[in-house]
C-alpha cells in the first residue's frame, strides 16, 4: 500500500504556508503529525496532488495561558504534549485525560491537536472536548483570520468548516469555571482504539449556604453521531438541581433522546444509544465527585 504521488511542500513560515495554500487550488492537504492522514494516503483513500507539510512552523507549537485565563494551544502541539502539559492539567484537566485515551504512545508522540480537529473523526476524543469546553478554532488564510466556535467548526463525519486554503493555527479555550469538576468515559473495542461511545462532562457547583447544587452542567457525547454532540436538553435539566443518580438518569435519557446513533461493524445503533446513556450518567457522577473539597 503505497501512497499515490504528490508534490511536497514544506513552508518555513506561516506566511509562506498561507501563500502556498492560496495558490495550490483544492487538491491539497495539509500534513502535521500525519497519524490520521498517512494511513488514508497509504490506502489511497485520500490522494492530494499537493501535500503541504506545516511541521516546520515552530510558531504553531506550544501551550500557553493568557492573562485572562484563556488557554491557547498551538495547532502543532502533540497529543503527548497535551497529556503532559502542566498548564492544561491545571486549567482543563479533562483535556489531558482525553489525550491519554488517544491510540498509543507512538501515535501521541506525532499526532497533533490541529490535525485531530481538522480530521474530525466522530469517534475522536479531542473534538468532543473542544465542544465541551466551548473552544474556538483559529484558521488563517490569505483572506485573513477566522475564529470559529468548535460546534460550528465540526460539521459532520470527517467534515469541518476549514476551507482548502486555510490552516488551523491554534485553539483557544475559555477560562474554566473555578468551582467545577470533570468526568470522562470511553468504551472502545480495545484500549487505544477509537471510541465506540464516549462522554465527557463539566459540572459547576453553586453553593447556597450548606447546600451544594449544580450551577450549570455541560455534557458531550462522541462516537455516537456524525459530530460530538452537546446534550443541550439534558444540560437544561441540571441548573439549580441537587446532584444525584435520579438527576443523572433523567439527564442521560434526555441526552440520548437527542441523538441519532449510527451502527457499524463494531457496534449497533442500539448499543451506542444504550451505552451513551450509561456513560452520560457516569461522567456526571464523576464530575460531581471531583468537586473541590
Amino acid at each position: 500500500m503505497k501512497a499515490a504521488p504528490f508534490t511536497y511542500h514544506r513552508p518555513g513560515s506561516l506566511d509562506d504556508a498561507v501563500d502556498l495554500l492560496g495558490s495550490l487550488g483544492t487538491e491539497v492537504k495539509v500534513i502535521s503529525g500525519g497519524q490520521s492522514l498517512v494511513p488514508l494516503m497509504n490506502l489511497r483513500a485520500v490522494r492530494p496532488e499537493h501535500l503541504v507539510d506545516v511541521g516546520a512552523l515552530d510558531a504553531l507549537h506550544g501551550v500557553s495561558r493568557r492573562d485572562d485565563g484563556t488557554i491557547v494551544i498551538g495547532a502543532l502541539t502533540t497529543y503527548r504534549e497535551v497529556e503532559l502539559s502542566e498548564t492544561i492539567a491545571a486549567a482543563c484537566p479533562v483535556l489531558a485525560e482525553a489525550a491519554r485515551w488517544i491510540g498509543h504512545e507512538p501515535i501521541r508522540t506525532r499526532g497533533t491537536v490541529g490535525g485531530n480537529l481538522a480530521h474530525a473523526d466522530p469517534a475522536a476524543e479531542l473534538p468532543a472536548i473542544m465542544v465541551l469546553l466551548d473552544a474556538e478554532i483559529v484558521a488563517v488564510s490569505s483572506r485573513g483570520t477566522r475564529v470559529v466556535p468548535a460546534t460550528a467548526f465540526l460539521l459532520s463525519f470527517f467534515t469541518t468548516a476549514l476551507e482548502p486554503d486555510e490552516i488551523l493555527t491554534e485553539i483557544r479555550i475559555p477560562p474554566p469555571a473555578s468551582d467545577s469538576g470533570w468526568g470522562f468515559a470511553e468504551v472502545s473495542r480495545r484500549p487505544g482504539d477509537l471510541a465506540l461511545v464516549g462522554a465527557a462532562a463539566l459540572v459547576e457547583r453553586e453553593t447556597d449556604g450548606e447546600e451544594q447544587r449544580i450551577g450549570s452542567a455541560r455534557v458531550v457525547t462522541f462516537g455516537v453521531s456524525p459530530t460530538p454532540t452537546r446534550a443541550i436538553a439534558a444540560e437544561a435539566l441540571a441548573a439549580g438541581r441537587q446532584p444525584g443518580s435520579q438527576l443523572w438518569n433523567e439527564m442521560a435519557a434526555a441526552a440520548v433522546s437527542d441523538l441519532e446513533p449510527f451502527g457499524d461493524l463494531h457496534a449497533s445503533a442500539a448499543y451506542r444509544a444504550h451505552v451513551a446513556r450509561a456513560l452520560v450518567a457516569r461522567v456526571l457522577a464523576e464530575a460531581v465527585g471531583r468537586w473541590p473539597s
Binding site: M1, K2, A3, A4, P5, F6, T7, Y8, R10, I31, G34, Q35, V38, P39, M41, N42, L43, R47, L51, D53, G55, G103, H104, E105, P106, I107, T109, R110, R190, P191, G192
Partner: protein, 166 residues
C-alpha cells in the same frame, strides 16, 4: 492518472550516521530505511499505523515509521532496531532480556518490540506488569500471547539495573 513526481533530497541521521537520500516525497520513512538505506530490520506489518512492527525512535521517542514521509524529518535523528545494541555489539538490556526469556516465536514483531522495549527500559522506574502491558499494547504479536514479551521486558529492567550497579 498517477504520475511519479520528482525526487527530493532529504538529510537525516540514522543510528548516529548522517544520511542523505534522493527519493520521491511519497516514500515513507519505513520504506526509505528498508529500501534506500538497506536497513531491513524495521518491518512492515500493516502500513496503517496499528501493528507497531515499524517502530523506530525519532529523537529517542518511539514512533511508527510507516506513518510519516521521510521528507517530514530533515535533520532529525532516527534509531532503528539495528542501532539499539551498542556499536561494539553488546546487546541492550531489553535485547538480552528478550533472549533470556524466550520472548519471541516467529520474530516478525521482534524489531518493533525491541525498539519500544528499549525505550521503556531506558525510562527506568519500577513499572508494574499492567503498566508494561499498557506500553506494549501498541505493538501486535500474533504468536506469543504477550506473556513472554512482558517477561522479557522485566528481565531487561533487571539487567539494566544490574549493569548500573556493576
Amino acid at each position: 492518472m498517477a504520475l511519479m513526481t520528482a525526487e527530493i533530497e532529504i538529510a537525516f541521521t540514522v543510528n548516529g550516521i548522517p544520511r542523505v537520500v534522493r527519493v520521491e516525497p511519497r516514500r515513507t520513512l519505513a520504506d526509505v530505511l528498508r529500501n534506500d538505506l538497506e536497513l531491513t530490520g524495521t518491518k512492515l506489518g500493516c502500513e496503517h499505523g496499528v501493528c507497531g512492527a515499524c517502530a523506530v525512535l525519532l529523537d529517542g521517542e518511539p514512533i511508527r515509521s510507516c506513518l510519516l514521509f521521510a521528507a517530514q524529518i530533515p535533520g532529525r535523528a532516527v534509531t532503528t532496531v539495528e542501532g539499539i545494541a551498542a556499536p561494539d555489539g553488546e546487546l541492550h538490556p531489553v535485547q538480552e532480556g528478550f533472549w533470556e526469556s524466550t520472548s519471541f516465536q516467529c520474530g516478525f514483531c521482534a524489531a518493533g518490540f525491541t525498539v519500544v522495549g528499549a525505550a521503556l527500559v531506558d525510562r527506568g522506574g519500577e513499572p508494574t506488569d499492567e503498566e508494561i502491558r499498557h506500553v506494549l499494547s501498541g505493538n501486535l504479536c500474533r504468536c506469543t500471547g504477550y506473556a513472554s514479551i512482558v517477561e522479557g521486558v522485566r528481565a531487561g529492567l533487571r539487567i539494566a539495573a544490574e549493569r548500573a550497579d556493576a
